[in-house]
Amino acid sequence: MNVVKVSNLVKRYKELVALDHFSLTIEQGEIFGLLGPNGSGKTTVINCLLQLLTYDKGSIKLFGEDMKPSRYDLKRRIGIVPQNIAVFAQLTVYENIDYFCSLYVGDKKERKRLVEEAIEFVGLEDYQRFRPRKLSGGLIRRLNIACGIAHKPELIIFDEPTVAVDPQSRNSILEGIQRLNREGSTVVYTSHYMEEVEQICTRIMIMDKGQALATGTNTELKNMVDIGERVEIELSGESDLTEALQLVHGLPLVTSASLEGTALKLICARGAHSLSSVLGALSEASLTYGRVFSEPPTLNDVFLEITGKELRD
């Protein structure tokens, strides 16, 4: 079942086209990663989904039904964890979660249970009576998440939830998202951190300039670009470094090579046995080497390959 189906969405800000015939489908049970540089249109997509923004063209269906500003029944099935902290500074942790839960759940007893579960889920049991200004950055982020998930929504949208948090809190948040997904929620996740998306998302879309550039699983995306593994070879002192560089440049499987000190850094073309081929060529030329590092292509490589390396706003 399609939880989200966006078709040919167009959103303009005067002359600027923020979304250009953008389409998106998210299946139930997915953790869907939305990747894109700053200004690529990720937040615009989310705001359109939530009917916070009008759009010029296209259609949005949630849970198989047309999404309109007045479809409060559909909105009640969604949870949003915005990029900016959106909680009341004057309310305690418990009061904040209770209030946001009350927007979806009227019954007090039911709400109490849900609020306590949410507090336990994000690990804020010891901070229930604290006001946000007394919480650390990581704890506030967790409160921000608890306010969005307390009512146990079927679709949860996380808009860069791990910005400016320490590695422990980030790990806790990511594990929490996976747990929510296991409990049945469909997740839309946007982030600049490729490793996070790579770690938790079942399907990923890379978008830029309001357009969907590529969609697929982690592996599918990596297969879309002509990038193989990265190899770093520490050459020994007796080796002629210039000769080694010229040698690897001549190999057909090497797309780029550079020398940093005595380290030879290579990016290979996609395909098997790149490392063994390079090492074999060095041995044949009697060039000796010490440590060797090799890593498969990352999502970051794919992202840069697809969206380009020029700086964005």
Binding site: A18, P82, F88, Y99, L103
Partner: protein, 389 residues
């Protein structure tokens, strides 16, 4: 809706900045106003003037002057407010000695010719003069003027004074019986007019306007186009009316409560006399708080950062006030006008108020209507529709 109402109340009551401007500041201003204006009425009230009269043979020889002093010091002849409190001494030396007590404005003695002399105590005067001494001088001037008139008549036509009807008329005109007056004093107010009350109305009106901050902050966090918090609340599965109605109700209730505190502070702590119109004042404050809530809601719904809104609305308010004050220098500030015209000013003042700034009244009404209309339009257009990028 109840949760939203309670939450709005909690957030506003716990917002120190809002409380400072909406509650503490008006209370401080009230205190300052009381300190500045509480003696305003006393300044305009003439207290009996203590004066020393040299009761020597010259004084006793002029029966008319002694009678005048007796009348000016009489409670009965002056409806309980005598002009003078005379202290009689036998000689000028005794009068000078009496002045050492620094109680008297000076002493009055008559010359051999019967002309009164007022010797003022310079220690009771300053560069701007002394109103009490000026009053005594005016009374003596009047006495001398009347005496000169009568003397002139006697010299020109002594026979006139043989005519009893002329003497009777003269007595009437020169105020012998004190009952003749060329003007009639009537009271058109239930209470004596108060010169200071208008300033306390101004404080209450100012407080009402400051209460707009409550609605401004409340609406700022409730609409999708105003803040991240508002955006989150607006996607919360509740209609706009279910979100805004309890929010505005809480803001109004708190505004009304706070302005009532200000009113109670003036009425019961400082004992400001509102002339028995307390119920009307409370009712008007309720309406003022409602108007302020609408005004705050309008500014709160603007798609600009919260900090700018908080600065913007008092700025616009101040500009508006300045404009009104400029166009009609006699006018009060428009908050004062708002309250005074609605309730408790003495009718005499109210008449002036309604006659003088009629063009302003029209401007006020038009502007208020414009603000409310804009606000409604903004609400209908905002919500989910215009989130800034």
């Amino acid at each position: 809706m109840l949760t939203t109402f309670v939450t709005t109340l909690k957030t506003l009551v716990r917002n120190r900045e809002v409380l400072l401007w909406a509650v503490a500041f008006p209370l401080v201003l009230s205190t300052l106003f009381v300190a500045m204006f509480s003696n305003l009425d006393e300044v305009h009230r003439l207290e009996p003037i203590p004066v020393v009269i040299v009761d020597d043979e010259n004084y006793q020889a002029v029966e008319a002057f002694a009678l005048m002093i007796e009348l000016l010091a009489s409670d009965e002849a002056n409806e309980g407010s005598p002009l003078l409190v005379p202290t009689f001494v036998a000689s000028e030396a005794a009068a000078l000695e009496a002045l050492e007590a620094e109680v008297y404005q000076g002493y009055i003695m008559l010359s051999k010719e019967g002309a009164p002399h007022f010797i003022m105590d310079p220690r009771r005067s300053n560069a701007l003069g002394n109103p009490s001494q000026t009053v005594i001088l005016m009374v003596l001037d009047q006495y001398l003027q009347n005496t000169e008139i009568v003397n002139a008549f006697i010299q020109e036509n002594p026979a006139l004074f043989a005519d009893p009807s002329f003497l009777g008329k003269l007595d009437e005109l020169l105020g012998g019986n004190n009952e003749l007056s060329f003007t009639e004093r009537i009271s058109v107010t239930a209470n004596p007019p108060s010169g200071s009350l208008r300033y306390f109305y101004a404080v209450l009106a100012f407080s009402s306007i400051m209460m707009a901050t409550f609605a401004l902050v409340a609406v700022d966090t409730a609409l999708g186009n105003t803040s991240p918090l508002g955006a989150r609340r607006s996607v919360g599965g509740q209609s706009k009316i279910r979100l805004l109605a309890p929010t505005l109700t809480a803001a109004w209730l708190l505004s009304f409560g706070c302005v009532l505190v200000g009113f109670a502070y003036l009425r019961f702590v400082f004992g400001v006399d509102f002339g028995g119109k307390e119920a009307a004042v409370v009712l008007t404050l309720a309406v003022s708080a409602l108007a302020a809530t609408f005004l705050g809601a309008f500014f709160g719904s603007l798609s600009i950062p919260t900090g700018k809104k908080v600065v913007l609305w008092p700025l616009l308010h101040a500009c508006f006030r300045s404009l009104l004050d400029y166009t009609d220098p006699l006018a009060r500030t428009w908050e004062t006008w708002w309250l005074e015209s609605c309730l408790c000013s003495p009718p005499s003042i109210r008449c002036v108020r309604w006659q003088t700034p009629s063009s302003r009244s029209i401007t006020m009404t038009a502007t208020q209507s414009w603000l409310v209309t804009c606000w409604h339009y903004w609400l209908s257009q905002s919500s989910s529709l215009s989130l800034p990028r």
